[in-house]
Symmetry: C2
Subunit: 105 residues, 2 copies
DNA sequence: GATCCATATTGACGTATATCGATACAGATG
DNA sequence: CATCTGTATCGATATACGTCAATATGGATC
């Protein structure tokens, strides 16, 4: 997967428009201040999991806004969702983010 | 730089809003189908460099649109610009993209 | 089943962005 | 200096996105 010496990393061959669109969709799901913050919070939490209320407190964003961002991350396959009693717990799914790491490694 | 076992990668500690904004700005510069395609084209080209006209042909986008995307990449420090005779040559600067790789490696 | 709590969804609003046609600019050529 | 060519900028437009207040939903508790 390593590339030419001038520019190491993935992206071994030119992307067609469809592949580029798929990859961009995944990147866009993370390329937002609030969502990067959420990912970093999850990553620092025990078992990489937090409930929504903790994220709301930590980010200072409104609850609907946090819920929106979590939905974006969920739809992109970056986090998983689980209901436990009153709370919904979100946890990081490491595989999708590793795809991004591989592209620019 | 390695993280907890549940979710490998960078982002060792929670990001504050400012750091998250900076990182998001860099990611947004790449998180677009056209720009990912451009980066992959540069990466596949000799010395990771191409002139604008080649990129216009390869992507099928209009010349102003390509110029716009190259400006975004340039402003983000992802590509360099050099005039050679008639043409402007753009080349990949590998360091910025490596930052992204490190975050999700 | 009535209530309560955490979360999800809806509606609205302002901002950002991707795209293109038209035009301006700059270096090379005659 | 006039012209030609490749690239950058401008103006306009349509779409996407981030945010919040208000409201709906759905599981838990009494």
């Amino acid at each position: 997967m390593a590339g030419p010496a001038c520019c190491p990393g993935g992206l071994g061959s030119p992307l067609d428009r469809e592949s580029a669109t798929d990859l961009a969709r995944l990147m866009k799901a993370v390329a937002d201040p609030a969502r990067l913050q959420i990912v970093s919070l999850l990553r620092a939490a025990p078992d990489c999991a937090s409930c929504v209320c903790d994220i709301t407190d930590a980010t200072g964003l409104s609850q609907p806004t946090v819920s929106h961002h979590l939905k974006v991350l969920f739809d992109a396959g970056i986090v998983d969702r689980e209901k436990r009693g009153y709370w919904t717990w979100y946890s990081l799914l490491p595989t999708r983010l590793s795809e991004l790491g591989a592209v620019f490694a």
